[in-house]
Chain length 323, copies 2
Amino acid sequence: MATSNSNHPLKDDLDIVIPTIRNLDFLEMWRPFFQPYHLIIVQDGDPSRSIKVPDGFDYELYNRNDINKILGPEASCISFKDSACRCFGYMVSKKKYIFTIDDDCFVAKDPTGKDINALAQHIKNLLNPSTPYFFNTLYDPFSDGADFVRGYPFSLREGIPTAVSHGLWLNIPDYDAPTQLVKPREKNTRYVDAVMTIPKGTLFPMCGMNLAFDRKLIGPAMYFGLMGDGQPIGRYDDMWAGWCVKEYKGIFWQEEIIPFFQATSLPKECTTVQSCYVELARMVKDKLGKIDPYFVKLGDAMVTWIEAWDELNPKESKKINGK
Amino acid sequence: MATSNSNHPLKDDLDIVIPTIRNLDFLEMWRPFFQPYHLIIVQDGDPSRSIKVPDGFDYELYNRNDINKILGPEASCISFKDSACRCFGYMVSKKKYIFTIDDDCFVAKDPTGKDINALAQHIKNLLNPSTPYFFNTLYDPFSDGADFVRGYPFSLREGIPTAVSHGLWLNIPDYDAPTQLVKPREKNTRYVDAVMTIPKGTLFPMCGMNLAFDRKLIGPAMYFGLMGDGQPIGRYDDMWAGWCVKEYKGIFWQEEIIPFFQATSLPKECTTVQSCYVELARMVKDKLGKIDPYFVKLGDAMVTWIEAWDELNPKESKKINGK
């Protein structure tokens, strides 16, 4: 039987970024959905190991030696031995959109038993506006058979461009270590067929396991540190950085980090993602450096990340500087 | 077969308020869920008409003559010939919780064909905290088999008391007149099994057709005018008043009303729902009176409503004044 390659939106405008340390057998399951797209595989850990990719996929693969060669000393901003190394893929991509997925994600089924094409839903989300300024009670007004309900302001119905599409998951519920210890057997089995915009000014715990975003709009802010926590909306004033937090420290730090982000606002002069991010790096060093010296290191890495981004994406950078 | 009356939470702490102009045959469908609870029926329109209530329900019924007798001149604040008259029921209730439902609401079925007990879900929502300060990506952390995901601040996991539980609906999607005209045949058929908190500071179009709230916490702010639009969280600084808007005017007014509410903040001296609401009434007259003289009338009605509320609820009022 021929694999259908037709009707794959954004086929030439989206890269799938996969961080991995193993053979990518999981791609077999995703073949009907992923095969038409280009993959960027970021191999973590020992670069001498060889990673097998199933036949028929179009991909480029980078191991640590490649990253070091391409970035030189700036490679220090790319995490090692953590799936956060995926953000190197964001940097080398030349496409408008990124979809990133963990190599232990399986295809979920809807209640009728049909395989869910998570990528297709992400693409739909990225191509439709977000509505962060007012909440629509019947969920996604842009899905089939839905619209804005009575009382929704007409002036806000156009929405704004979607920056991030955050996928969810079934089975393992992605708890922190203490919750996992308390509820070792809890599974998430409830499939919720709803897309919604997280309102402006609302923080949320971003998870990088199944995530898509508009790279041209917010790519430089999608730096993952070691653990990804981010912001849903293309508003740079309250954008989250990724946090290099091992759980045991992270669960204490997060109580101080979150108020920092809630209070953060960026000066008007910062009009590009890059300049906002560098300013955020300064504030991280200044305000969070007191909690732990790690944050000084992270602030430096954030600046290095932007420098490396601009080197690999000179056209974007020129546009910004020349504007 | 005996009707099971056991296991009905809040049986003595919740009134079901139903505005109507017809015989309440729709209650037959809801009998297994509603029969153990007390009903407050607010008869709208011609008070000489007699409304039939199916046998076996425990209820009190008020028509316009009753409302006029009980409130005297203050009855002017209760709408006539509009389902907004339901708010009289909020005022005469002596219970901690209110559930209100339109008399044309049917019992929906979940995807397995089982009847959905909307009241039970509202009660569960009211008895569980809300989490308006941070978004939980896997929806309601208090539902069975769910919790807060990794990265959710521990300091915010206790949540705050839930003020309003907003139910949704299937079939007719509750569009405004223009949308209805454009999509006359569109039906909402997607059942979404998810409970979520609308974040702090986010406005939404409240619908009174299937709504529960904590009367002790925010009752006096639940004044409906003629069309109910409200606020999901027990924060009075950005509480919505109900709006006496006929659609054709409302869809123009709402574009100016919403920014008014987004910009509204109440002085610290207002520490009760009543005092906040009276201050809001003053601002409505002052700021929105310029749009249309209707808002001056509405501001006066808001004050009358609070006066009438305090007269019918003297204990609450005394507690406030004596505090």
